[in-house]
């Protein structure tokens, strides 16, 4: 998605004396401008990052400045899923269900180290990054990220939205793994490939 060139933004000026009340622009620009500045976030707050998210929404940092005044606690009226906090395996089907309930166009921000990679919770209970469950547009690092960091991530998402093109339908496609595809690797092979770095070895740190 990031490979599409950012379109140039041009507006046509008009002569106020003889042609009043119109402005010409590209449809892409207008739609993206509208979308980027009225993103409705769906805060999927689970842990510490949710508190920093609340601080971002509260008076000092004031997320409403970026068009995010309305928190949408229902996924059906939301544009951006902000996953703030760690996601254990017990929560994995919940976040996938919420992502599927959101209408297109939709984006997602993975806030914090735990949501992005599992963070310091490399154990039996925590999903090692929500990008194994849902697609992620922006990763915000930090444990937890400061409100400034989250706002920077939101600005990056807005830039990304501004660079989208309506003719490019691939952006709105939802991909699920297709077992018949040539590119499909069954999980057992992934285990085999990833073994030196993945699970089931090097668990000797338990030794005192």
């Amino acid at each position: 998605m990031g490979l599409t060139p950012r379109p140039e933004t041009r507006t046509v000026s008009y002569e106020p004396q003889n042609q009043e009340g119109w402005v010409a622009t590209r449809l892409d620009f207008l739609v993206n401008w509208g979308r980027a500045n009225s993103l409705w976030p769906m805060p999927f707050g689970t842990a510490c990052c949710a508190i920093e998210f609340m601080a971002t929404a509260a008076s000092r940092f004031d997320l409403a400045r970026f068009g995010m005044e309305r928190m949408s606690f229902s996924p059906r009226q939301a544009d951006v899923l902000i996953c703030a906090g760690r996601v254990p395996f017990k929560l994995a089907p919940i976040i996938r269900r919420i992502w599927q309930q959101m209408p297109q166009p939709k984006w997602s921000i993975s806030m914090g180290a735990c949501a992005s990679t599992g963070g310091m919770f490399d154990n039996y209970a925590v999903v090692q990054g929500i990008d194994t469950i849902i697609p992620v547009d922006v990763y915000v690092p930090g444990c937890p990220p400061r409100p400034e960091g989250l706002i920077y991530g939101i600005r990056m998402l807005q830039e990304k939205v501004m660079s989208e093109r309506r003719v490019d339908n691939r952006l709105r496609e939802e991909m699920y793994p297709d077992p018949t595809s040539q590119l499909y690797i069954p999980p057992s092979v992934i285990d085999e490939l990833g073994e030196p770095f993945g699970n089931s070895v090097h668990q000797t740190r338990s030794a005192p």
Partner: protein, 437 residues
């Protein structure tokens, strides 16, 4: 306890001003169930509708569950007949990880377990580990930890206050509470470098002494904070809508509260004056002059009052602690436990080896076990550690107060209306990171 009528003076915008220009107060008489008596009670002879009870599922993703709690409610009309809470959606295996880490390395996990009270957890864990090591900390460190714990209690109660107000339907106190919380963040950040996840303590001391001029910032905060609290107090405590909404619901009597294991403000609102700071003191809390607020009715309104009073008492403790802060070292003088200073570790061979050994192997406590409880904002927070003589605990157990407080929610909500469930749930002050661990 919760029996008979009860009168609370409330203010309404329509009652005008008294002779001193303050809003006039009128007595609001409520009955046992909390409904105002001068308002006609709903008809008791409701038509009996045939039909099954309805099952309704709140959560795990719901703004009023303060995280990822799931409540399965069985409703008869709008009345809750049965409530079954489901937890575990944020189970991250803290206790398992603790068995794989040295004592000082566990401290970052204590931040993230009850993340509203992170520095208070650091203090609690360090106290537990020090009991296990058999060491006593320096006087300066003791006072610094009291300051840290009380600041953290205020920060936690402020988040509770803000979210509780949102759940009931008031938005403004949320903004005020978070503004004050940002001031606490600023203080913590200039001390330990982090806003939320502080990791401020070490076994035998603190990660850092306070920077110069920090106490001035603290004194300024102590001066300004009561004004905000008074403002919130004026807005809520006598507000007729507020009082009518939260009195008489979720009542726990004193015997029930003890039997269900409630602790902290939940227990004290029911009239039991059990406070770990007074009954099993730590950090010289017995030498501070402060009150333990105790409720009489055990309902949501009393829990609100108890927590508001605890905020004032925290200010009182902070004032005394700021006066008595002694000079001297922060860390104990014991090279088996404390790291050498960084400047020496990078310049002297012996210190470098010492540093390396301490970090790679870690200090080893003698074989034994210790359960150390502190009064966290949620209740009695205990850390139980078992050492088998190695540098990592054989078992690290967290006694989670809000887990045990939440276990009583079926008892509290059954028989109330669905909308009261939200208020009762908010009054428990749950934090899912601690419940599920």
């Amino acid at each position: 306890m919760g029996s008979g009528n009860r009168t609370i003076e409330v203010e309404l915008s329509t009652t005008g001003m008294d002779s001193q220009g303050r809003p006039q107060r009128i007595p609001l008489v409520t009955n046992d169930g909390g409904s105002p008596l001068d308002i006609a009670a709903p008809l008791s002879a409701e038509p009996e509708l045939s039909g099954d009870h309805m099952l309704i599922n709140i959560g795990p993703q719901h703004p009023a569950t303060h995280g990822v709690l799931r409540l399965v409610l069985e409703l008869d009309g709008e009345t809750v007949v049965r409530c079954i809470p489901h937890v575990g959606y944020l189970h991250c295996g803290f206790e398992k990880i603790g068995e794989y880490r040295q004592y000082n390395q566990i401290i970052p996990w204590t931040d993230r377990e009850d993340y509203l009270n992170s520095i208070g957890n650091n203090v609690a864990f360090a106290l537990g580990a020090e009991r296990l090591f058999g060491i006593d900390i320096t006087p300066r460190c003791t006072v610094l930890r009291v300051i840290a714990a009380e600041l953290s209690r205020m920060a936690s109660h402020l988040v509770w206050l803000g979210t509780f107000c949102i759940d009931i339907g008031a938005f403004t106190p949320f903004l005020w509470a978070f503004q004050e919380r940002e001031n606490i963040y600023n203080l913590l950040e200039s001390w330990v470098g982090a806003r939320l996840t502080t990791s401020a303590t070490r076994v035998g001391g603190m990660a850092a002494d306070i920077p110069s001029g920090w106490m001035d910032g603290l004194r300024q905060f102590i001066r300004n904070f009561p004004q905000t609290l008074d403002e919130i107090d004026r807005m809520l405590t006598r507000n007729a809508i507020w009082v009518g909404r939260i009195t008489g619901i979720g009542v726990m009597t004193a015997e029930e509260a003890i039997n269900w294991g409630l602790s902290g403000p939940m227990l004290r609102a029911s009239g039991v004056d059990y406070d770990v700071r007074k009954d099993f003191p730590y950090l010289d809390y017995e030498t501070y002059d402060f009150d333990v607020p105790v409720g009489t009715n055990g309902d949501v309104y009393d829990r609100f009052l108890v927590r508001m009073e605890e905020l004032r008492q925290s200010v009182k403790i902070l004032t005394q602690a700021a006066e008595r802060l002694p000079d001297g070292p922060v860390n104990i003088d014991d090279p088996r436990i404390i790291l050498p200073p960084k400047s020496k570790a990078t310049s002297e061979m012996e210190s470098m080896i010492h540093h390396f050994k301490q970090v790679m192997e870690g200090p080893r406590p003698p074989i034994g076990e210790a359960y150390v409880a502190v009064e966290s904002p949620k209740g009695e927070k205990g850390y139980y550690m078992v050492s088998d003589g190695t540098s990592k605990p054989a078992r690290w157990r967290i006694r989670p107060p809000s887990f045990i407080n939440l276990a009583a929610i079926p008892k509290m909500v059954e028989g109330h209306l669905l909308s009261d469930v939200i208020a009762i749930n908010a009054s428990i002050d749950i934090v899912m990171g601690e419940i599920d661990r």
